[in-house]
Symmetry: C2
Subunit: 223 residues, 2 copies
Amino acid sequence: MERHHFEAELQGLRNQLLTMGGLVEERVHRAVHSLIHRGEEDARRVIASDNEINDLQMDIDNRCLKLLATQTPLAVDLRLITSAMKINADLERVGDQAVNIAESALVLIPQPPLKHLIDIPRMAMIAEKMIRDALDAFVKRDPELARDVLRRDDEVDELKDQVFRELLTYMMADPGTIQRALSLVLISRNLERIADHATNIAEDVIFIAEAKDVRHHAGVEDR
Amino acid sequence: MERHHFEAELQGLRNQLLTMGGLVEERVHRAVHSLIHRGEEDARRVIASDNEINDLQMDIDNRCLKLLATQTPLAVDLRLITSAMKINADLERVGDQAVNIAESALVLIPQPPLKHLIDIPRMAMIAEKMIRDALDAFVKRDPELARDVLRRDDEVDELKDQVFRELLTYMMADPGTIQRALSLVLISRNLERIADHATNIAEDVIFIAEAKDVRHHAGVEDR
């Protein structure tokens, strides 16, 4: 494969990952929207459309394998392609979390609202932005933006703990709230996992850009 | 790199993944053991030793990248090496789940036991065996054993639902049990995720063996 053809293939790979990212972000948004606005139809659409994401994941993986097979890539391209396979897997799992949220929403929607939701929409907003920025950092090869994503993970963790504490007081005060409160606790855990996937992607971006493994805190001072 | 040297490198990679698998399995076992036998020391050891797993993960990733860089691998080797990177990531996340379980155990140990634990140790036993068999299937290139791992995931899911329902009745009957019951619910979710990682590995094994993507149920009849 000639170099300029190879470059075009890499660009195609980046675009496909962006498409995948857009799809899963939209799913997360719709799932949380369905919870807040009690839209059963939206929740069902998130669950029904998971196949589309799974198909795209397989397409991307096959494209990566083809790229690795048809050319011995340079070190930086090698890191890019193998990282793309990991990012792809992270995005697919974000899609799975959106499905989990939609399933919990379907349990909650028919029941009276437990409380006005504030922290969960906030967690969702941050987590969605983290996914978007992590992918943006990937496409622009911007390790600084990726580091910024890593820093935001703490905020999500704090919100998760806050949600947990608040729902615990509801449950203690009135056992009739336990089932609904538990569903909300699980949703906050799903959102935390989405933020974790964004940090995985951000770490891969730094790895590609700087050929330095920042996972497990090595080289990240203020996480 | 000569072929026989390359084969030796692949064998080294397999062995290193087995070592990684053994390490994380031991962590899961110790974390659940600390919960059942109220061993604070064991729980702390699981948390403290997470670095070892993280270091090994980076070693394995670097070995894979080196293999991809120094030889244009044949199709089957390419699948093996890229799958090894994915399996590596799954194993590291199993280690993370062991840490989560150990942290919950540390919360529970100082408090009076809520109940005699039966389903959680059973879930742990199945999940540990799934990880072991998935890796065994990888080393022996045995897609049938991998399929057997896939089938066991349903059993873990059922146990998770059973744990949830049982703990819910405790919480409803006595709000004083809510905090402890919630910790146990979260532990059962951690074990479910460990089983999910085992199914990811099993799917990769089938992919390597048969060059057919069984993820997302394609080609797996009775999951």
